[in-house]
């Protein structure tokens, strides 16, 4: 069996099995598609955000468990939040996944999203966890599609303080 300290914790597996906010909004004010060409992860995000508050959000697509669970927990976390609060979470999640945020010593708002901290030890899987957040950021900025490759690649940013 997998090491209980490892990434595949029950909460992640549960969100993979039963993704929350699955589907697509008929009347979305913002939308974006995220794609990780190297592993084939692909997701579509739609949100309804009148007056800078996320009233509704949905996602669908094909992806690994890490990406799907990350998207599911992200939608649950940002629903009802303002765009600014969501942007803060995006930044904190990215920093956690790339090892730049010390969850113990530094203040953050990640809550249950901290289960993804383990990806920092799996460089090849960081992109899987980050893709939904990247896509949300793209939707806010009216970018139709995004990827975790090239200049947008979070792995190009130095990890840690080194």
């Amino acid at each position: 069996m997998a090491d209980p300290k490892a990434l595949y914790q029950e909460v992640i597996l549960d969100h993979n099995r039963k993704p929350r906010n699955w589907g697509s909004l008929a009347h979305a004010s913002h939308r974006a598609e995220g794609h990780n060409p190297l592993c084939g992860d692909h997701l579509k995000l739609t949100l309804d955000m009148p007056n800078d508050r996320i009233d509704a959000i949905a996602f669908e697509g094909e992806s690994c468990a890490i990406c799907k669970a990350s998207a599911s927990m992200m939608t649950a976390a940002v629903k009802g939040k303002t765009r600014d609060d969501a942007e803060t979470l995006i930044q904190e999640f990215r920093d956690m996944a790339t090892g730049k945020l010390d969850l113990v010593r530094e203040a953050h708002h990640l809550g249950r999203l901290a289960v993804f901290a383990g990806v920092r030890d799996l460089p090849t899987r960081v992109k899987c966890a980050i893709l939904p957040w990247h896509t949300l950021h793209a939707a806010f900025n009216a970018v139709a599609s995004t990827t975790t490759e090239a200049e947008d690649d979070p792995m190009h940013a130095p990890i840690g303080d080194a």
Binding site: M1, A2, D3, A6, L7, Y8, L13, N16, L38, C39, G40, D41, H42, E62, S63, C64, A65, I66, L122, T124, R125, C128
Partner: protein, 419 residues
Amino acid sequence: MKTVVPARQTRGDPSFDVERVRADFPILKLKVGGKPLVYLDNAASSQMPQAVLDRIVRYRTTQHSNIHRAVHTLSEIATREYEEARGKVARFLNAREEREVIFTSGTTDAINLVMHGYGRKFIGKDDEIILTTLEHHSNIVPWQMLAEEKGAKIRVVPVNDAGELDIDAYEKLFNEHTRFVGVMHVSNALGTINPIKAMIAFAHARGVPVLVDGAQAAPHLKLDVQDLDCDFYAFSGHKVCGPTGVGALYGKAAVLERMQPFKGGGDMILSVTFEKTVYNTIPFKFEAGTPPIAGAIGLGAAVDYLSALGMDAIAAHELELLNHATEALNRMPGVRIIGTAEKKAAVVSFAIEGVHPHDVGTLLNQDGIAVRTGHHCAQPVMKRFGVPATSRASFAFYNTLAEVDALVTGIRNVQKVFT
């Protein structure tokens, strides 16, 4: 009731002692995350035996200099060893002549050499190049670049549900515009062994030359380029237990003679003035600049190592691994093998129901098992089989039946996590 198969039991060849072979590979003693390494990613890159590592160190510590240049002793030794490595590769491929072997940086480089040296000279507007759905991106993209530059067309041979080329369709693709065929010998994604000898004969009957991408065949099959009668055969050092950064292109001397150089520079010329440069003879015409000398010598040692084991014994042992893995995975509920060709090399691509290959790869790694997950640089193959990616176990002669069993247990653990 689980049958325990002893690691060294091989019905293929009783003289092939896998445990003794494993002792030649220091890296196989590694532990990964506290678990013994089960290295099943040989189609991506194989490991080097001590004999190859030693040969590279001996060259670097006692024989290194530049080649084909100075008159001093070290340069003469380095030149001799480099050229001897060419001879070893020529014998490994059963080439007619040593000058038919060009050292490249790998298979990709070799194919690019043919595209630039042959394709750009002899393929023009409205000409057609036949490739197959199975091709690795390295035997697709260079030809697309050429097609775009010249206004040529690419025609693609389809595959059936087993992952075998549709040979009828291949033959129907030929017409008066057909100028070139590029086909892989063994599929990296599915393991299919393609009937290249018949395909080459068919193309030659219509005056069309054939390049064979042998990257996945060279580690597993006894090769004979004269018997195949291919015009080009490309393979990589690091997939035949040699180092990275080196590979070889075989080309028929008469074809190589007609080609234009690929890269310009030192060593590929006879004389240079600003008015006119006279190119060197083959194979040097295609080896501009200082080549990977240590790499080539390491490759020579690697093919010697394989030949000493015997490619037939290697193939027999690997067939046993393939059959054991195929039978075991076929018995597992929720596991589907992708690529069920009648003739296969020891590659098993598979999908686990409800689990993405990347999750499979990460979880198997926690058990010390190294497999490749992804599209295997063969996106058209993935599209054909309707999957974004697969997990792939690819075996080498140093793998054991016990390691196949470890893979099966690992897959069961993955399924447990995801139930």
